[in-house]
């Protein structure tokens, strides 16, 4: 019986595998294919390239608009990361200790900014922030990004805290550690990977955020995505591809750091016997 099925099955597997690999190629190729074009000596977008040059990167480095956008993005991203991780981290700690039916409601409210389409958030914050003087300046954008970042911190850290074995704290206490020592020596080290990876999530969210920022920002507050948008919207130049390539490099860097952290936290969890 099985022998009769074997060729058909092998063919089906082969086709699935081929489709899967094609799918992966479809996913990655458009991103990878633009990277070499950013080194094109001429300003067009097809292969073969007549020569290689760094002139588009030079152009970005010398552009006041791009430099200002980078500065704004970094200021907003870092401020948002600090505030959202702190505020969201405290909330996750509180949520993990709450024994009440309110817990589900609170989680729902705290993660709602992640669910609602960006354009609605943008409209709401624009209408609400303008009279409060939070439109057209960086603090307004930082507040908006913090609200958008809190859900990621709450989700990541709540999951990590659920897996945290509270017996470890009891063990520390029974061995004579005070609550602060127990926190510092047991909880903080074990939570660090989750904390850092949620901070990275927040930073990426802020760094990539476009629509809410575009409603709140004046020309002085342009961030990298907005600068990128106006480039793509008006006329795609190789400068945009150079910027895109830098973005992709930053993404790879972040992806690798999160992956390293995840492995580290798995290893840590394994070492102290916390269930993964």
């Amino acid at each position: 019986m099985a022998a009769r099925h074997a060729p058909a099955e092998r063919a089906a597997r082969g086709v699935t595998y081929a489709l899967g690999v094609l799918g992966l190629a479809f996913l990655v190729a458009p991103i990878l294919v633009i990277i070499p074009l950013s080194f094109n000596a001429e300003s067009f977008f097809s292969y073969p390239m007549p020569g290689v040059s760094l002139r588009w990167y030079e152009k970005i480095a010398q552009s006041d608009a791009w430099r200002r956008a980078l500065r704004n993005s970094l200021i907003v991203g870092l401020a948002t990361t600090v505030i959202a991780t702190l505020v969201g981290g405290l909330a996750a700690l509180g949520l993990s200790r709450l024994r009440s039916r309110m817990r589900a409601v609170l989680v729902g409210v705290l993660i709602s900014p992640m669910i609602i389409p960006g354009v609605i958030i943008a409209l709401a914050l624009f209408l609400f922030f303008s009279p409060l003087g939070l439109a057209g300046n960086l603090p307004g954008i930082i507040v908006a990004h913090t609200i958008l970042g809190i859900p990621f911190v709450v989700i990541t850290l709540t999951a990590a805290l659920v897996n945290f074995d509270t017996n470890l704290m009891r063990a520390a206490a029974s061995l004579g550690a005070g609550p602060i020592t127990a926190y510092r020596r047991i909880m903080v080290p074990l939570m660090t990977p989750a904390l850092v990876s949620s901070a990275l999530f927040v930073f990426v969210t802020s760094f990539d955020e476009f629509i809410v920022t575009s409603f709140l920002a004046g020309p002085e507050q342009y961030t990298l995505p907005i600068q990128m948008w106006s480039g793509v919207h008006d006329d795609v130049t190789p400068t945009i591809l150079a910027a895109a390539t830098l973005f992709i490099l930053a993404s790879i860097l972040l992806l690798v750091s999160v992956e390293v952290l995840r492995r580290r936290s798995e290893r840590l969890a394994g070492r102290v016997g916390v269930k993964a």
């Binding site: 799918g23 992966l24 633009i34 909330a91 509180g94 200790r97 709450l98 669910i115 389409p117 895109a244």
Partner: protein, 410 residues
């Protein structure tokens, strides 16, 4: 005595529990404050703008009060005309007719100039007329038309369904009945249907591409499986703008895809691949594909291959084993992935705005358009409410299928 002791113990425990919960709540408070004040309240206020009707009462208070008494049939009484004349005169000299004019202009075009010119002429007259109704009709004949007064009556109500009707290409006629807007002004039903249709297409394409991808990834050995996962996560971590920019470069007239097609002799002249529906669907599918793959992969990893082997050993052919045994076990992933991609697609703004043409823009674009270009916040709010309703209706289903914390599984 024992019973008493038990009762105090119980209340003592409850007290400790309450204290614990309060301390926990204090930790949650700052985040809650941020989200409620900076998010829940603004959203609620924004949605309220979709029914708010305060322009007329603000700039023409007398006639608004008089109109609220009127039954809305035919033409109003002399007192309403007198109130109108007074409001117009005041409004013209103090230059406060603008908002009322813009609001009424949405009902009937030409209202801005009707208010302004009537106000100017009234401001020049000193004598008290015998009949305000006659005077107003003399200043502009439109003041003797019932449809003008029906529009005034609608704009004078405390709340309005105008924007919500408008979002579905409907309006109220002079008898206050809901009718379709004239053919040439119909726009929004088409936009709503188009948004739903594009999102459905994108969801179907993502599912078709992601399903074999996720199967392949599950069957791969290490380190190949990890490499594949990294390749899926890379676009996931890359800005939507970067990915959309890539598609603009690939699909444009002198772009890479056209260049390849020409070189292979598959086309004789460059095809238009961008600024049309095709471009939007391709680029949006690419942008949302990682969400589908990751959702399916998470579920497929949990499917025990023993079941398929058992089905095969019991005589099922590969197709039967897939359809009757494997597919049903992956259905939660299929459902969750489709809902997630659909939710993200229907709210998308950046990709359609950059790779779509004029007839491929979706709801989100028109929400932004009505805020930034036409400054019609009521309509933007009504469209937002529709979009929010779709998302909030689908989200609980998704939550049940996927578990909320898997939304950004990495």
């Amino acid at each position: 005595m024992a019973v008493h002791g038990q009762a105090t113990l119980k209340s003592e425990l409850r007290r400790v529990e309450r204290g614990r919960n309060l301390r926990a709540l204090a930790l949650v408070a700052p985040a809650l404050l941020f989200v409620v004040l900076g998010f829940v309240v603004p959203i609620a206020l924004t949605l309220y703008k979709g029914v708010e009707n305060r322009e007329l009462v603000r700039s023409m208070p007398l006639v608004t009060a008089a109109l609220r008494q009127w039954d809305g049939k035919g033409l109003p009484a002399e007192a309403v005309y007198a109130a109108l004349a007074e409001d117009l005169k005041q409004g013209f000299t103090q230059r406060t007719l603008g908002p009322a004019g813009r609001r009424l202009n949405l009902e009937i075009t030409g209202f801005v100039s009707l208010l302004q010119s009537s106000g100017r002429q009234l401001a020049q007259r000193q004598e008290t007329p015998v009949s305000y109704a006659a005077l107003m009709a003399e200043i502009d004949r439109r003041w003797a038309e019932p449809r003008i007064w029906a529009a005034m009556k609608r704009a004078a109500a405390p709340l309005t369904d105008f924007y919500f009707l408008y979002a579905f290409d409907l309006q109220r006629d002079e008898r206050n009945e809901i009718v379709n807007v004239p053919e040439e002004r119909r726009l929004y039903v088409d936009i709503l249907l188009r948004s739903l249709w594009i999102s459905l297409c994108v969801t179907a394409i993502c599912l078709a591409i992601a399903y074999p991808m996720a199967i392949t990834m599950t069957s791969m050995r290490q380190p190949l499986a990890n490499i594949a996962l990294t390749l899926v996560l890379l676009p996931f971590w890359t800005s939507v703008l970067v990915r959309t920019a890539a598609w603009v470069v690939l699909l444009q007239r002198e772009g890479l895809v056209n260049g390849t097609l020409l070189a292979l002799g598959l086309v004789s002249a460059p095809e238009s691949l961008i600024f049309n529906r095709f471009g939007v669907i391709v680029a949006l599918s690419h942008v949302l594909l990682p969400y589908m793959v990751l959702t399916l992969y998470a579920v497929m990893k949990g499917v025990d291959p023993q079941y398929v082997r058992a089905a095969r050993s019991l005589g099922a052919d590969p197709w039967q084993a897939f359809r009757r045994v494997y597919l049903p076990q992956t259905m939660p992933g299929v459902g969750a992935g489709c809902l997630l991609v659909f939710i993200l697609a229907i709210g998308s703004y950046v990709t359609p705005a950059l790779v779509g043409g004029r007839h491929d823009q979706m709801i989100a674009y028109f929400i932004a358009f009505n805020v930034n270009q036409t400054v019609n916040w009521g309509l933007a709010a009504a469209l937002s409410t529709f979009l929010l309703a779709v998302v909030l209706a689908l989200y609980p289903l998704y939550g049940r299928l996927a578990g909320i914390d898997r939304l950004r599984a990495s």
